[in-house]
Assembly symmetry: C2
Homo-oligomer: 101 residues x 2
């Protein structure tokens, strides 16, 4: 597998009043993940990137971590370090942010 | 897992002369996948969507299928039906298009 973990963060915008993750909030998360991974020298084996609608609009800002397919919702930049440390590095999903699908 | 298969298709543009997948070619693929899956009634269990750069620019138009993390390169709309039938439905990756990472 090219990446040990591959994180896809929704940066989709939808016309109001539809709920959505939003490009602004999504890109804040993308940048926070990229910075954290680069600082730790992990950005070759773990990739975080923007993506289109994950069909989890009501729970945004949302993202999914593959290969395990764990979705997270209502994620803020303050949550990123915890997701990186616990889930991406130590393989323990962050239960308080997990979406149960 | 929310989706049995989740297909992320690069629709990124980069300034020429850099090689890239391109939003135009990428969106042709996104639409072809969405149409094929909808026709077969599979669009709730299998999702295809646009994404940002997959860091496979030299091999674009590119996409990745999770949870198995199989990357494909130089994909054209004519290849979509084969990927849907063989890989997404029958779990047999299409070897002639696979990128070996």
């Amino acid at each position: 597998m090219k990446y040990k973990k591959h994180v896809f963060i929704c940066t989709n915008d939808k016309p109001a009043p539809k709920k959505c993750c939003s490009s602004e909030k999504g890109m804040e998360l993308v940048n926070a993940f990229k910075e954290s991974l680069a600082e730790k020298g992990l950005n070759r084996e773990i990739r975080a990137q923007k993506t289109g609608c994950l069909d989890t609009c009501a729970f945004g800002p949302a993202l999914v971590v593959y290969p395990e397919g764990v979705f997270y919702g209502k994620v803020t930049p303050d949550d990123v370090e915890e997701i990186v440390e616990k889930h991406l590095i130590n393989d323990e999903p962050v239960e308080r942010l997990k979406l149960d699908f």
